[in-house]
């Protein structure tokens, strides 16, 4: 019995999404009346987890886990779950964690539920709320099984500080052999990604062509934001697929989503709807996006955006 959080790290730094998973784990542990344990993999500085209420930190250091693969990481986590008799594992909804969660659920025959947006309403039967139909709906779902794996939707719970013992314990794992290897990783450094961003600046066909995207990039830069786009923009090759957001692209659940020259088609809205605050800039007052927005500017993007950039720069 007990709640375990896998706290994902990158270059030795615990990710923000992992701290949210830990905050959630703490609330759940309190509801159950159990302690909160976390596991980190090849992360030498997990101390921050203590501030979010972690009692014990299992520290795995192993060369065969240098590169993430869902198979090897599942195998490592499975060893912790077994040794600690874990009944609930919490994951963030990062691409790697979701990837890992499903594979791990298969290996452990656990019950996995993703896109969870709140702590369980009920422990017996275990009932938890998650989003479905790409945020056009929510469901209250009953989960059974001895091992429950819960992946929480980004920004659905927030970061909540708490005191924990934060005792670090090395956890030795049995060797992992794998028939899948990572041969290359190409990553843009220094760029905020859609999954991790607090703010996302997104633009659509209203921007007329790829040559105008410097406006989007500059605005994103002053806000420390990630850049995104509508589907036709990526289909036409104006922007890479990795920026396509919406029902058939990436989901966005940032704190602030700024949509420039995007009409607000149902498929676009579905994917970005769980963002907290939406700002729309569009020259057509009839654009459907205004119905889904918190703040709106009816105006020409080519006039509004440069001014907005200047004003934001001056503010700093």
């Amino acid at each position: 019995m007990g709640v375990l959080v896998y706290a994902e790290s990158e270059n030795n730094i615990i990710k923000k999404s992992a701290l949210e998973a830990v905050s959630y784990g703490k609330a759940l542990a309190e509801k159950i009346g159990s302690r909160l344990n976390c596991v980190v993999i090849n992360c030498s500085e997990p101390n921050i987890l203590k501030q979010y209420g972690t009692d014990k930190i299992f520290n795995i250091t192993n060369d065969s886990l240098k590169d993430f693969t869902s198979r090897s990481y599942s195998n490592a986590l499975q060893q912790v779950i077994k040794a600690e008799n874990t009944s609930i594992l919490i994951l963030s909804s990062s691409a790697d964690s979701k990837y890992l969660g499903a594979h791990l659920a298969g290996f452990t025959d656990g019950s996995f539920i993703s896109n969870v947006v709140g702590i369980p309403d009920n422990l017996d039967p275990f009932t938890v709320k998650r989003s479905c139909f790409t945020n056009k709906g929510f469901s209250s779902t009953e989960l059974t099984g001895d091992i429950k794996i819960i992946s929480i939707s980004a920004n659905s719970f927030g970061l909540i500080e708490n005191n924990g013992d934060g005792k670090i314990e090395d956890f030795h794992i049995e060797d992992i052999s794998s028939t899948i290897t990572v041969s290359n990783i190409e990553k843009q450094s220094g760029k905020v990604t859609i999954a991790d961003a607090d703010v996302v600046v997104s633009a659509g066909r209203g921007l007329k062509g790829p040559e105008n995207w410097h406006l989007v990039e500059e605005l994103a830069e002053v806000l420390g934001a990630a850049t995104a786009c509508s589907k036709p923009v990526s289909d036409m090759g104006w922007r890479p697929h990795s920026e396509h957001v919406g029902q058939t692209g990436k989901p966005v659940s940032s704190n602030l989503y700024i949509a420039i020259g995007i009409s607000g088609a149902i498929q676009h809205l579905a994917g970005i709807n769980s963002s907290k605050i939406k700002v729309v800039i569009n020259n057509d007052p009839e654009a459907p996006f205004f119905k889904a927005a918190d703040y709106g500017i009816v105006g020409d993007a080519f006039e509004v955006i440069p001014q907005l950039i200047t004003k934001l720069k001056n503010r700093k």
Binding site: F133, F138, S139
Partner: protein, 248 residues
Amino acid sequence: MNILVCISNVPDTTSKINFIDNDSKFDKNGVQFIINPNDEFGLTKAIWMKDSNNADVTVLTVGDSSADAILRKCLAIGADKAIRIDCEAIDASSVSKEIVEHCNEVKYDLVICGRESIDYNGGLVPGLIAGYLDYNFVTNCVSLNIENGKAKCSREISGGIEVTESDLPLVIGAQKGLVEESDLIIPNMRGIMMARQKPLEVLSAKNIKARAIDKKYFKPQEKAEVKLIKPDELDKLIDLLENEAKVI
């Protein structure tokens, strides 16, 4: 090479989402069902592999007879054979286990699923299948090349691309990029005629118990009216974002 493509039957993206029976069921009334977009990217790739890898392509869905229409469409697109495991698809765990039971009987070198379905968005089925079968697994897969029994796959990761090499059998979670939107095959008359001759086999289900059961559905809260700000009053927008919404 034997390829299995797992297909989910999902509401068209423009569907109105409503719930019935005391909010315990999704209202299918008037809803048009389509091949899950992520699955269709995977299917198209599989069809290409008929040429490049001399592959035999089977499509499979777990569902009731209302899913036959999309299986016929898959056959018209070019799949060789269709299988429906006859039961109501309740949760990812039971659906995956039904598929796994089938994979234990018929060996596939490659199992292609969509990265996630656009109805329940769980993203679970491909990983669960891989875990249960102890196969290798690459999700968010944007390129795949199989030669001499070795697979080279690219996975979209946060901020980049990762390349993996693995043995077969392999399960992938497909998405756009594996093939482009413009590569999707629209069935022609010949395809549709040929599909009628191809086998659509209905298998009985093992009736595996679901573990995640949706008890009640909710709609998102109605949004408050948008606050409009004049284009020449951008200071006001910045102030609202900073002090009212507290997001910058």
